[in-house]
């Protein structure tokens, strides 16, 4: 039986998302990057344009794999000052819904990402949209998009952490 013919259960997807969250929360960013396809995208649209298209709208983040790798390298260094020392984060994922085939899986989920640093706390709330691909070696992320429900970033300041 090939991977493509195996049905995907929500529980499998949830397990994958929880594992991803664990990698982010433990700052194992090199391992986290391994979850991405080499053509993968990571996007965060502006708060006032959640349907933003990076081709013509200003995004907060529009990373291809190379930029994402550079983001990881930056965050791993001691010179990403906003994140050195690193925040303590807690990526929480729920309301998971799965559509599509095993070859091209669409996932939506709600998230809250708590960020604690230097006595301060902030919370990002929103919706994830993933496109996943199943391989013999587990799921791979073809696209991850984090759409923020907050109307602006006044309470969180920036998006220096990975959502």
């Amino acid at each position: 039986m090939t991977a493509a013919t195996v049905a995907v259960s929500r529980q499998q997807i949830e397990d994958f998302l929880y594992a991803e969250a664990e990698l982010l929360d433990s700052w194992a960013l090199d391992a986290w990057l391994q979850l991405f396809d080499e053509n993968a995208k990571y996007e965060v649209p502006s708060n006032d344009a959640l349907d933003g298209d990076p081709a013509h709208d200003l995004m907060l983040i529009d990373d291809n794999h190379a930029r994402l790798a550079a983001r990881v390298e930056r965050l791993n260094s001691r010179r990403a000052h906003r994140e050195y020392p690193h925040s303590r984060t807690n990526h929480q994922v729920f309301n998971v819904r799965v559509k599509g085939s095993a070859e091209d899986i669409s996932v939506t989920a709600s998230f809250t990402v708590w960020r604690f640093r230097a006595g301060r706390s902030s919370c990002y709330v929103g919706r994830y949209r993933y496109r996943l691909r199943r391989t013999d070696d587990g799921f791979r992320i073809a696209a991850k998009r984090a759409e923020l429900d907050m109307t602006d970033l006044r309470n969180v300041g920036d998006v220096a952490i990975i959502l």
Partner: protein, 436 residues
């Protein structure tokens, strides 16, 4: 009341003569700013009265409201106002966002198009020119109420330059071109470099952080900090094949009335029009064509300034137009001595071809914005300064770099231009004794 027992020396503040917070000493070529300028609640209140109600403040760009009835709402100087294109006149109107009846906001969406603005309290209704058109049960009012005078209140002065709409709460302020002084030429460079017509890209960065707004003014055109603070950005540039050898070099220009600019060459690319590896090989021809067009239209010298030269421009007091790896327009407003609200946009040529627009936005995100590789570190360093101030022990910030030579882009003369104007406008409200 004296107890007759003196157990302590007089405090320094008690002995301090009426000295300005900005200590500008051309004789010794030393320039200092007392840190109370960043921490004092008195200074913060005086800034609202003396600076933010007495300056031209950027509201928005005309391209945001192209059609009659189009509107955007904005806080300027901490006050909610909205900008709407009048359906009758086609003019850009800027109104205080408050019902003339009992005060509620009449514009309650961030942007949109509307024929009328209706207060949801008693349903008083105003048109896009501000006229009061509807009052339920109007017959109940006697003759003393003149409804013609109860239209939406316009902000005292509204003018625009090259599509940039400014408003002032001061009816007696000089006209906008006089106010902008030498900054006009630099707005021209940005707009003409974009082919003469610009628009704001959809999508806004709205973020806040815990530092005094003037620290971000300084930081927005601080050439000195780039290498040390933004090391990870330059490493990224190297990783994609950018040649850093040219470095950053250029000069500072005092544009009058507190406005100033640094202009300099840099290793990074510019969508108009300096190629870099980030843009990809296929973009070379297009970018060379853009440049050739500008040379044909404006001559080699001006085209060089538009294409190869970066500009970090301050329009006093709080508008930044940085024409760097992309063009960003940002406003800064203090909500407290140690809190600033930033709103930032990307400016681009109107009808920019799709591949160029995409490249421009991609270039923007490498450095700029709350998710960029540089802006978060600027927030961190400015918050760090603000926290450092509370430690005490050190009273003054030094801003003397480059005094005694022709100021370069990584000197601090542009900041001194800002601070001198600030001190002038604050007057007696910014003396050391009053700020404590």
């Amino acid at each position: 009341m004296s107890t007759g027992i003196e157990t302590r020396r007089p405090k320094e503040a008690e002995m301090r003569p009426q000295l300005p917070i900005v200590d500008d000493d051309p004789a010794t070529q030393r320039f200092r700013v007392h840190r109370s300028a960043m921490t004092s609640p008195h200074i913060h209140r005086a800034e609202i009265e003396r600076i933010f109600t007495k300056s031209w403040l950027y509201v928005g760009h005309e391209s945001e409201i192209p059609e009659p009835g189009d509107f955007v709402r904005r806080p300027i100087g901490g006050r909610p106002v909205f900008m709407v294109r009048g359906a009758k006149t086609g003019n850009v109107n800027v109104f205080h966002n408050t019902c003339t009846h009992r005060g509620a906001l009449v514009c309650r969406q961030d942007s949109g198009n509307s024929k009328v603005f209706q207060c949801f309290y008693h349903a008083w209704t105003f048109d896009s020119e501000g006229q009061l058109k509807g009052v339920p049960d109007r017959d109940a009012y006697a003759g003393g109420v003149n409804f013609d005078e109860l239209g939406l209140k316009r902000v005292a002065r509204v003018e625009s330059y090259r599509g940039f709409v400014f408003a002032s709460f001061d009816p007696d302020i000089v006209d906008l071109p006089t106010y902008l002084a030498g900054a006009k030429d630099y707005i021209d460079l940005v707009v003409d470099g974009c082919g003469g017509s610009v628009e704001m890209v959809r999508g806004t960065n709205q973020y806040s952080f815990s530092a005094n707004w003037k620290l971000l003014v300084e930081n927005s055109f601080d050439g000195y900090h780039a290498e040390s603070t933004h090391d990870t950005y330059f490493k990224y540039l190297v990783s994609i094949g950018t040649d850093l050898r040219g470095g950053v070099s250029g000069r500072e220009v005092d544009l009058g009335n507190g406005h100033a600019v640094i202009e300099y060459s840099s290793p990074w690319g510019r969508p108009v029009a300096k190629w870099e590896p980030l843009f990809g090989e296929e973009a070379r021809t297009e970018i060379e064509r853009l440049r050739a067009d500008l040379v044909a239209r404006h001559g080699e010298k001006r085209a060089h300034a538009m294409t190869e030269v970066n500009r970090n421009l301050l329009i006093y007091p709080n508008l930044i137009i940085n024409d760097i790896m992309a063009v960003t327009v940002r406003t800064l407003y203090p909500s407290a001595p140690d809190a600033v609200d930033v709103t930032a946009w990307a400016l681009a040529p109107t009808d920019e071809p799709a591949p160029l627009r995409h490249r421009r936005l991609d270039s923007f995100l490498t450095f700029l914005g709350p998710g960029g590789f540089a802006t978060p570190d600027d927030l961190e360093v400015l918050e760090s300064c603000q926290q450092g101030f509370t430690s005490g022990g050190v009273e003054w910030n030094d801003i003397s770099r480059g005094m005694g030579r022709v100021p370069m882009a990584n000197d601090e003369e542009q900041m001194r231009v800002f601070w001198r104007r600030w001190q002038h406008q604050m007057g007696a409200a910014a003396d050391l004794a009053g700020a404590q």
